[in-house]
């Protein structure tokens, strides 16, 4: 090991036990999330099993310096942080200059946050929710609805984490190009279109099942909902929908109790 630049896609071997330990720890990446280091300590925690392979092991100076460095402030989407964990692990084990690692760490955080937020929180999660709501609307049993949601969502979730760790370990400091992959760049657009299609089908179907039979009531609900969505859209970022829902519901409950 020495101060060297990682060649892209160079085979890189980590013991299977170490990879598994890192994979499990990645699931707990945000266990110590806080307003000081955000998920920085989580990155150090996930990398720790691999850092034991540094010369001198857990008592060695390299291990302690690397663990301290990797546990500082870091902010990324929790799933795509696996890319950083893989790449930084590779860099540390390749003996890359610490200054370079710190610069790379700083540069990587922003893209991993924004790409992950767009792909997972703003696309994949709502899409899976809508599919599950659609299964409910179509008359699905509790087991089918919950099973559909969990299987679909976690297929994407686990694949993304596993891909991130693998690509990070394989490419090291050259991992940035992997973030340009079509799935990450175009994925949110395609998933957004699919989610809109499913929403048009799933939401009225679910509303129908909750309200029960009666087309007049359903028609009234849809018309009121359209007006409500329009008004909420006009408010944009000035008000949170769920807070308005809480207020309206509280007033309705009070009214129904007092009358």
């Amino acid at each position: 090991m020495g101060d060297q630049v990682t060649a892209p896609n160079t085979p890189f071997r980590l013991p299977v036990r170490t990879r598994i330990a890192m994979g499990v720890r990645l699931l707990a990446l945000q266990g110590s999330w806080n307003y000081e280091t955000l998920n920085g300590t989580g990155v150090g925690f996930a990398m720790e099993p691999a850092l034991r392979l540094l010369p001198g092991g857990v008592k060695g100076e390299q291990y302690r310096a690397a663990l301290a460095r990797e546990s500082r402030y870091f902010n990324a989407h929790p799933y795509l942080a696996s890319v950083a964990v893989g790449a930084l692990t590779r860099a540390e084990l390749d003996g890359v200059d610490p200054t370079r690692i710190e610069r790379f760490r700083t540069a990587l955080a922003g893209p991993l946050g924004s790409v992950g937020d767009r792909l997972v929180w703003a696309s994949w999660l709502p899409f899976c929710s809508l599919v599950a709501i659609g299964v409910f609307g179509a008359g699905g049993s509790p087991l089918l609805v919950v099973g559909t949601f969990l299987l679909l969502y976690n297929a994407g979730h686990i694949l993304l984490r596993a891909w991130g760790l693998r690509i990070g370990l394989a490419r090291g400091l050259n991992v940035a190009s992997a973030l340009g992959t079509p799935v990450l760049r175009q994925g949110p657009l395609y998933i957004g279109c699919a989610a809109a299609l499913v929403a048009g089908f799933a939401l009225p179907l679910a509303l129908e099942r909750i309200v029960g039979p009666g087309r007049v009531i359903l028609g009234g609900i849809v018309a009121t909902a359209v007006v409500g969505i329009f008004l909420l859209g006009r408010l944009r970022e000035r008000a949170e929908g769920w807070r308005i829902a809480l207020g309206v519901l509280a007033v309705f409950v009070l009214y129904s109790v007092l009358t």
């Binding site: 300590t41 302690r64 663990l67 979730h157 957004g192 909420l232 829902a245 519901l249 409950v253």
Partner: protein, 226 residues
Amino acid sequence: MNFLEALPIALLGALLGLDVVSFPQAMISRPIVASTAAGSFIGNPPAGLLIGVVLEMIALDTLPFGASRYPEWGSAGVVGGAIFASQPESMPGALPAALLAALLTASISGWSMVVLRRMIASRLERTRDRLEDGSRNALVSLHLTGMTLDLLRGLLVTLVAMVIFAPLVKAIVAVWGTESAASNAVVVVIAAVVAGGALWKVFHSVHRVLWFFFAGIAVWALWAIK
């Protein structure tokens, strides 16, 4: 509901509350899962699923972007599901009252997450020297403490919410004055408006998204005609 009756539900709330941020973020904390699980605990999974779907629509408005503050749906889903599933069937006020209890729990639980994060930061401050020295024990201890505190947070929030809201919802349902269809309609309109607004906020920039939405509506219309 007394302390001992609420304890198994609180344990479920603790486990699902942990999933929101700490471990494993597999979205078992989403209301559609959490409420159904709580309903199953009570012996009425369909009721848990029903309120879970309503909560899921509302939860679409609060996706966990970055370091933003958001309501915590894991414990809230459990509270809503357990309370609604334990009401006698066809009680008009059960759905709105249980939903209100769940939303209040989500709000309080979201605040408890902020407190937890400050507590972890405070512990981090106390161990900063050891962390800067590369101490494995300090790092692992900080991490495990954070997760344990999160588990306890979920347990406490769910327990307190169940002890307060379960009898309150029962009392509300007993004196409810609005008929069943209207009560459910109000809940459904609220959920549809929040879900619609949330989806518009997230997807409005996607090219031709409205066409896809209307195509979906057309599929639903065909389904309804059939």
